[in-house]
């Protein structure tokens, strides 16, 4: 399976702190994506990083990709209470193109 696996499973931080979560996967990928899911809601696409990219930014989000280690990290800077959610990495790999999701990291930002 090429599914990503996130680490840690849960993370609790103070508002204003940075949150870092990691994702590891098993097989070659076309790209890796990060999604957010608020409790009981749908998945929201945050950022996509292609296999030939090493780092990408979007607002307070920073994603890195190390294909040699088959791993990615998502950094949320200056966290806010509204960032409280579960974060999933998903890989779009070879030979099939469907997205495969990891189990997620639950982030709680304390006010």
């Amino acid at each position: 399976s090429q599914q990503g696996e996130e680490d840690p499973q849960a993370l609790s931080i103070q508002e204003g702190e940075n949150a870092t979560m990691n994702c590891s996967y098993k097989t070659s990928i076309n790209n890796l994506q990060w999604y957010r899911q608020n409790s009981g809601r749908g998945l929201v696409h945050l950022i996509l990083i292609r296999s030939n990219e090493r780092e990408k930014h979007s607002g307070r989000l920073r994603v890195t990709l190390d294909t040699s280690k088959k791993s990615s990290s998502l950094l949320i800077t200056a966290s806010r209470a509204a960032d409280t959610a579960s974060y999933f990495c998903a890989t779009d790999g070879q030979p099939d193109y469907k997205l495969s999701f990891g189990a997620g990291t639950t982030v709680t930002v304390r006010a």
């Binding site: 749908g42 996509l48 999701f101």
Partner: protein, 114 residues
């Protein structure tokens, strides 16, 4: 911003009954997907659909399940003879392309089989 719309938001059904979950993907998207998430578990791929046919399906997507695009806008998932273990959130998603494009997910249908 364009959205993927799913109806109903919550469906309760008796075991053994058939349910149809409905989705309206984003109009210029060409690829459609169904995923499910059993409470507290991973988001699991069910099926992908392109050019009016299934392009890929998972082991979960057996003869109990079927998908249809009955008109130019709707994309449906039919679950026949529902079982208790079919209780889950079912998410529809669509994307512009198959590779290197993010998916837009709907808010999901919570299916409860009793």
């Amino acid at each position: 911003e364009p959205e993927v719309t799913q109806t109903p938001s919550h469906q309760v059904t008796q075991m053994g009954q058939e349910v149809i979950l409905r989705c309206v993907p984003i109009s210029n998207h060409l690829y459609f997907y169904w995923y499910r998430q059993i409470l507290g578990q991973k988001v699991e791929f069910l099926v992908s659909f392109y050019n009016n046919e299934i392009s890929e399906k998972s082991e979960i997507f057996d003869d109990q399940f079927s998908v249809e695009r009955p008109d130019g806008s709707n994309f449906t998932l039919k679950i026949r003879s529902t079982k208790l273990e079919d209780s889950a959130m079912y998410f529809c998603a669509s994307s512009v392309g198959s590779i290197n494009y993010g998916y837009t997910f709907g808010s999901g249908t919570r299916l409860t089989v009793v």
